[in-house]
Amino acid sequence: MAALTTHHLQRAFGGFVAVDRVSLDIAAGARHALIGPNGAGKTTLINLLTGTLRADGGDVVLAGERVTDQPPHARVKRGLARTFQITNLWPGLTVLESVVLVVSERLGHGGEWLRPLWSHNDVLDEAWTLLRELRLDEDAARTTRELPYGKQRLLEIALALATKPRVLLLDEPAAGVPTGASHELLDTIERLPADMTILLIEHDMSLVFRFAQRITVMVEGRILTEGTPSAIAGDRRVRELYLGEERHV
C-alpha cells in the first residue's frame, strides 16, 4: 500500500491555481523528492498534505485512510510529520524542552498537570536518545534562540522525528545552510530508518540526486513528470524548465 496518496488535489488563491489536480503516489519506505522552480506550488502542496491549508477539491490519503478533512494535529497523530522551510521553533524553550514537549504529547501526556515533567522517565529517555542520535545532546540545555542556525535546522528535524512519523515531509531542510553542512544534514537524513517514508522538497540538485530514488517534477501547479533520478536527469523538458536554470547559477 502507498504511504501517502493524493487524488486530484486542488487549491486556488483567488484566480491563481497554485496546485492543480495533483495526483501523487508515494510508496511506503520511499526516498522521494519533489522538485520544481520557484512558484511551482511545492510548499502549497505540503500545506495541503499536512492540513495547514484546506483543499478546494481532491483527497489526501494517508496509509489507506482519507485524511482530507482532518486538522493538522490529527494528521500528525496518524503519522504524518513535516519540517519547515523557514525555521519555526520555540525560541524561549531549551533544546531538551522542545523535544520533550513533542515526545510527551505523542505519548499522551500533553494534558497532564498533576505529575511533574521530570518524573516522566519514558519521555526523558526517549528525548535524550533522539538528541544523541542527532548530535544535539551537548546543546540540550541551550535556549533555542541561542543555537547556531545549522543546529536550529537540525532541531527542526528532531521535532518532526519526535512525533515518530511514518511519513516525513522535509521542506527544504538545508535552506540557508552552507554546502558542506547541507551534506552533513543529508547524512543525518540518510541514517533514518528504512521503513520511514520520506518526501524531500529541495532546490539543491546535488542533494536531490544523492538522496532520491524517485523524483516528481512540479511546474505551475501541475506534475510535469515523475521517474527515477536518471530518467529525470535525461528528460529534455525537465532540463529546459529547471535543471538548465540551475546550471547557470
Binding site: F84, W90, L101, W113
Partner: protein, 329 residues
Amino acid sequence: MDAARPEPRPIAPSRVHPFEVAFWIAPLVAFFAFPDRRLFASQVFVYGLFALSLDLILGYAGVLSLGHAAFFGVGAYTAGLLARLGWTEPLSGLVAAGIAASALGYAAGALVVPGADLSRLMVTLGIGFTLLEVANQASSITGGVDGLSDMRPGTLFGKLAFDMAGTTAFLYAFTVLFVFFVFARGLVRSPFGLVLRGIRENARRMPAVGVNVNRRLRAVFGLAAGMAGVAGAVLAQTTQFVGIDTLGFQRSAEILIIVAFGGPGRLYGALMGVTAFLLAQDYLSGISPVYWQFWLGAVLVLLVLLAPGGLAGALEILYQRARRGAWRR
C-alpha cells in the same frame, strides 16, 4: 529582550529555593508584627490568587484577557448568594464557586481561544461587560449596584468565625492562596505546563507536532477561571459583601496591570506585583488619591521601558549579577 523571558529551566526535580521559603514565611511574620493589618493582608492574598490565575493564561499560555474579573466576580457572587441562602459553610462554598467559575471559563474559552490577539481582547472584554450588565439588571438577586450584602457569616470547621480583626480571614485566605500556589507551581512544571509555554513561544508550530492548541487553551482557561472564582469567593466570605465592581472592566484591567508589573510567566511575579500594588495604593491614596494615579502611571511606564520582565524579572537580573560577582571574587 532576553530579560523579558524567564530563565531556561532544566528538567529536573525542582528544589525549593531559600528565597521561596523566605517568601512564604514573610506573611506569617507580618501576621504577628502588624496584627491590625490582618484584614488588609487577607485582601493581598485574595488578589494574589486572582493574579496567579491570570498569570497561567497570560504569562504561561500567552493569551491576553481583558475580562478575567468576570470569573472572579462569578465566584464571589456564587459564594455570596450561597451564604445568603443559608449555605454558610465556607469550604463547600469555595468549591461551588470554583466549579461555577471554571464551567463558565471553559465555555467562554470556546469563544475566546480560536481568535487572534485582538479578537481575544474583544471577546474577553465583551464577556465582562455582558456579565456586569446581567448582575446589574438582576438586582433582585444580586443587589445590583448596591452590591450583595446581608449574608450570614459562616464559621470555618464550625468553630472559627470571621472576626472584625481579620485573624480568621488572614489565615483562611493565606492557606487557600498557598494551596493553589503549590498547585500552580506543579502545573507549570508538568507536561501540560510545557505545552502552554510552547503555545506562548510559537503557537503556529504546535499543530505540526500533534498538539491541539485550542483544546489545551480551553483547559487552561477553565482552570484559571476556577482559580479566579475561588479568589472571588474568599473575598465574598471574608468581607461578607460582593460589590458589582468585582465583575467590572476596572478590576480586569487592574489585575492585568498587576501581572505585567510583577513579571508574567513567573508565578512569584504575580504575587510580588499584587503586594507592591496594594501597599502602594494603600499608602499613596492615603496621602491623596491624585498621587496614586500619578505614581501608578509613572511607575508603569518606567517599568515597561526599563525592566520588561517586571519586578520579578528585575530581581532575577540583580540576583544573577550578584551571583556572578560572587564567583569572580
